[in-house]
Each structure stands twice: as structure tokens, then as C-alpha cells.
């Protein structure tokens, strides 16, 4: 495996994304709005008397942090669809496969391309979110709530693993669909279980604490591994050229 080849493929995709304003807007606007909007919501409600009870604040902030996991899964769908279905639409996959590059190197390059921009955006917006929340809650709590282990697990495990899950699903979907919009719509279904987890966390049924976040990460790791094997079976040059319609 020559990682530099995968990186060449990924950077080519980044150049294409830069020319597609729609992609940039769709991966930047929503996380940015959430990173500013959620602290604004807390600010508008107020903390303590007549506002959000101090005791409920950690649970609420943990649930809000989980929003970024949903975003990681959702935004990756947008990119993965362009990266793979786009290649299919432009019929550029055949000359790409004709180069002295292995299927694994191409697959890894495509995965980098789909994974890195949304994750980078999420990380950037999470930093904004943390700063704003700390600024809002420091006087009430007497300490900086963020960064904490919850957020670090989200940042380093749950969000990347959910993003990888979407990449793998995107590869499998790409072998079945012919247009970017359908791939995106089908791919968005992946956020349903994450949204359910968010709701369950919000109502306290499955609190999104360190213990539960680690379990979620372990489950995601297992699913990612299974999907990885399925996607590598799907991404074979002969399959791509003959069966990807």
C-alpha cells in the first residue's frame, strides 16, 4: 500500500470540491450554525433561576455535543456521494483504474476525500462551540465545562467512527445508484439511529455519558469493520467496470 498514491487521489478530490460551492456550503453552514446557535439558545434561556437548571446543564451539554456526531455522519454522506458517484457519472473511473494504482490505494484515497473535510469542519466548529459554551457557563459553574472526557470521546472516537461508517456505506451505495442526489438521500438514512440516540440521551433514557459513549464507539467499530469488508468486496476493478451501472 502506497499512501502517497491515496493522498494524490484525495487531494484531487479536494480540488474538485473547492470548485463546487454547493459542497462547501453544505458542509460548512450547518455545523457553523449549530456551534453558534446552541450556545445562543442556552444564552437566551438563561442559566439558574427561571432558566435552565444548573443540575440539568451537563446532560444538556453532552446531548448538544452529540449533535456533532449526527453532523459527522450526515456531512460525510454529501462528500462520499460526490467522490464516488461523481467519478461514476463522469466515467473517470476507467482511466483511473488503468493507472498503476491498486484498488486498495484508490479506495483509501476516496475514503480520505470523503472523511477528512467533514471531520475537519466538525473539529473546527466544535472548538467554537466549546469556547462559546465555556464563556457562557464559566461564571455559573465556576469552572470550564469543556474540554471534558465526554467531548474528547466524541471528538476522537464517536464522530470519526460514525463518519467512517458513512464512507463505507457510501462506497456500497455507489455501486447501486447512478446519481448523486439518490446516493445522498439514501445515505442520509444513516443519521436515523444517531438521531434516536440523541433523543434517548436528551430524555435521559440512555445518558450520553462516558460509559455509554464508549459502548457506542465499540458498536460503531464493529459495524465499521463489517462494512469495511463489504465495501472492499464491492470496490474491485472488475465489479466497478462491469457491474456498477
Amino acid at each position: 500500500m502506497r499512501f502517497w498514491k491515496s493522498w494524490v487521489i484525495a487531494t484531487k478530490d479536494f480540488s474538485i470540491f473547492r470548485n463546487k460551492k454547493g459542497i462547501i456550503y453544505s458542509i460548512v453552514i450547518l455545523p457553523l450554525l449549530l456551534s453558534i446557535g446552541l450556545p445562543l439558545l442556552i444564552s437566551a434561556e438563561g442559566l439558574g433561576k427561571g432558566g435552565i437548571p444548573i443540575a440539568a446543564l451537563p446532560n444538556l451539554l453532552n446531548a448538544f455535543s452529540f449533535f456533532f456526531v449526527i453532523l459527522a455522519a450526515s456531512l460525510t454522506t454529501v462528500i462520499a456521494s460526490y467522490s464516488l458517484v461523481g467519478e461514476k457519472i463522469e466515467k473517470s473511473i476507467e482511466p483511473l483504474l488503468a493507472t498503476p494504482t491498486t484498488d486498495e490505494e484508490i479506495l483509501l484515497g476516496k475514503s480520505f476525500a470523503a472523511f477528512l473535510p467533514p471531520i475537519a469542519t466538525i473539529y473546527f466548529c466544535l472548538v467554537i462551540f466549546m469556547i462559546l459554551i465555556d464563556k457562557l457557563t464559566y461564571n455559573t459553574l465556576g469552572y470550564f465545562y469543556f474540554p471534558n472526557w465526554n467531548l474528547l470521546i466524541i471528538l476522537l472516537l464517536v464522530a470519526p467512527l460514525s463518519s467512517i461508517l458513512t464512507v463505507e456505506l457510501g462506497i456500497i451505495l455507489s455501486s447501486r445508484v447512478n446519481d448523486v442526489r439518490t446516493a445522498q438521500q439514501l445515505g442520509q438514512l444513516v443519521i436515523i439511529p444517531f438521531f434516536a440516540l440523541y433523543i434517548l440521551g436528551e430524555i435521559g433514557f440512555i445518558p450520553l455519558n462516558i460509559h455509554n459513549l464508549l459502548i457506542i464507539s465499540a458498536v460503531l467499530l464493529v459495524i465499521d469493520t463489517i462494512l469495511f469488508f463489504i465495501s472492499t468486496l464491492t470496490f474491485r476493478r472488475e465489479e466497478i467496470l462491469i457491474k456498477w451501472k
Binding site: K5, V8, I9, K12, S15, I16, N19, K20, E90, K91, S92, I93, E94, P95, L96, L97, A98, T99, P100, T101, T102, R237, E238, L241, I242
Partner: protein, 306 residues
């Protein structure tokens, strides 16, 4: 350079390529002719390590296409122009070529030199920074050819290089292939265009799932029928036909007073034919030799399989 022995590809029950055996020498331009669905693209994809073979042996420059390590070496020394150009519409012409140059492991200085060389040669150097989405079909085709050449490959696979191009662009592409021929590149060309095949190729294979015939354009033409002489008369009558029958010649009569006569030795027989016709009272307007065309050969071999 390209050696295929009994190469076969089956997709479930369908046989796309059946026992194809061919040898293409270094510096030779080989043309593959055949109708749609004849298996030309499938054969080219097998030769360029894009899809696997069901059976048979293929060696490209001595490397085995079915060996993974060899397959990477083969892909390094070949350039491919697929039927669909497959360029990145959102990238400039330069960036398209630069991307492929990197994947073909071309050193930076060589890559820059090659990009400039081929874009200038194909007349699109001035448009190198324009995104390919704004290019015409002909310009895209030229760029795709430049892409196939970016790493200076020893062997070039071209699948329908002039399809859907206007006559002027077709000529540019054809002339370019002729330039490459002068540089002694080994070229494997799939085409429907008989004129193109005749003009460019040293050797032609006619294929319809099976390889029906192979040879130089001249050999293929001569393989379908021998010499024929066309005699145009003012009027054909029974006396003339009886005179020809006495010479034991096979002939056909066309509806515009023409006789097409099979001759074994034109130099010897043509004067006898003219003399016999004149003696029978015929007025000969002109006599010409008829040569079979590549089209005649193509149609004959393709129809044999239908």
C-alpha cells in the same frame, strides 16, 4: 509486445471474447475492427489489466496480465484512451494531466515537460488553465489522448479515438496517431472507422467475438476475392455474352451496361476480353481493374459469423 493466446472472457453464459490469439510487434499499429458488441472493448480491457480473463494467456512486454505484481508493471508502461474520455470536468486541463502524471509516477520536471509538450502538440496549451467542463468534445478527446501519453508509455491502447468527433477533429486525432506511429509507439486501436484503420494500421484484426481474420489491410482485401475487371459497354447483348462464355470466364452483368469479370491474370486476359467483345460487335467505352476494399473484407467476415 502484445501476445495473446486463446484469450477468452465469459460473463456468466455469455462469451464476449472467444479464443482470441494475436501478436502485435513492437512499433506496430494494430487495428481491431468489429461491430458493436463484438468484444473489442472487453479484449482491450483484458489486455490493459482492467478485467480478468476467463482462460488463455496474455503477456504484455513479457509480463503476465494475470499476475498482480506484473499487472502494476504493465499499467506503468501502457497508456489507455477509453471509449468515454472520463476527464474531470471541474479541474483544468493542466490539473487533469498533472493528476494522472503523479499516479503514473512521473517525476515532477518530466511531468511538467510532458504536459507542455503534448498540450502544445495538440494545440490546447493556451487553454491549459480552463476547466475541462468548458471544452468541446474534440478538445476533450485530444486532452484524453495527452493523458494516455503523459508518462511516455511504450504501448498505447486507443478505444474508438475519433468516435463522435467532427471531421476536422477526427483528422487532427488521426494525424496525431500517425505522428506517434513515426515515433515507433506500439498502438492497439479499436475502431469502427474503416478509413481510419486502413490509413493508420499496419495490421488489422476483424473480430466478432472470435477473431475472423488478421493481416495487413492489403492482405485482408485480397483474401476475399482475386482480381476483377470492369468493362463498360455502350450496350450488352447476347452475342457479347456468348463470346465471353467461350473464353470460360465468370462474369456478372450490372444494370448499367457493365460487366464485372473474374480474371486470374489481368495483363494476359484483359486484351483477350476486349478483343472478344469488339469481335462480337460490342463498343467498349472503358476498361478498369476492380480492387476489393477493406469494407468488402470487413462485411464478408462479419457476415460469416451472423
Amino acid at each position: 509486445m502484445i501476445d495473446a493466446e486463446n484469450l477468452t472472457k465469459k460473463f456468466d453464459e455469455l462469451t464476449a471474447v472467444d479464443n482470441l490469439t494475436l501478436h502485435v510487434e513492437e512499433g506496430e499499429v494494430f487495428g481491431f475492427l468489429g461491430p458493436n458488441g463484438a468484444g473489442k472493448t472487453t479484449a482491450m480491457r483484458m489486455l490493459s489489466c482492467l478485467i480478468s480473463k476467463t482462460s488463455g494467456e496474455v503477456r504484455i512486454a513479457g509480463y503476465d496480465v494475470s499476475d498482480d505484481a506484473d499487472s502494476l508493471k504493465i499499467r506503468k508502461i501502457i497508456g489507455l484512451l477509453p471509449e468515454n474520455v472520463g476527464l474531470y470536468d471541474d479541474l483544468s486541463a493542466y490539473k487533469n494531466l498533472d493528476f494522472y502524471g503523479k499516479l503514473y509516477e512521473c517525476a515532477e520536471t518530466q511531468r511538467e515537460k510532458n504536459i507542455e509538450h503534448f498540450l502544445k502538440m495538440l494545440g490546447i496549451w493556451e487553454k491549459r488553465d480552463i476547466i475541462v467542463g468548458k471544452f468541446s468534445k474534440g478538445m476533450k478527446q485530444k486532452l484524453a489522448i495527452a493523458r494516455a501519453l503523459i508518462h511516455d508509455p511504450e504501448i498505447l491502447f486507443l478505444d474508438e479515438p475519433t468516435v463522435n468527433l467532427d471531421p476536422e477533429s477526427s483528422k487532427t486525432v488521426r494525424d496525431f496517431i500517425l505522428e506517434l506511429k513515426k515515433e515507433k509507439k506500439t498502438i492497439f486501436l479499436n475502431t469502427h472507422n474503416l478509413y481510419e484503420a486502413q490509413k493508420i494500421c499496419d495490421k488489422i484484426g476483424i473480430m466478432n467475438t472470435k477473431l475472423m481474420a488478421i493481416g495487413t489491410p492489403r492482405e485482408l482485401e485480397e483474401s476475399i476475392w482475386g482480381n476483377k475487371t470492369l468493362v463498360h459497354l455502350e450496350l450488352i447483348n447476347d452475342t457479347i455474352l456468348q463470346a465471353l462464355a467461350r473464353l470460360s470466364l465468370k462474369y456478372i452483368v450490372t444494370d448499367n451496361n457493365q460487366l464485372i469479370i473474374d480474371v486470374a491474370n489481368p495483363e494476359k486476359e484483359n486484351p483477350l476480353i476486349v478483343e472478344a467483345i469488339v469481335r462480337a460487335g460490342g463498343h467498349v467505352q472503358y476498361v478498369t481493374e476492380l480492387s476489393p476494399t477493406l469494407e468488402d473484407a470487413y462485411l464478408k467476415y462479419v457476415r460469416e459469423t451472423e
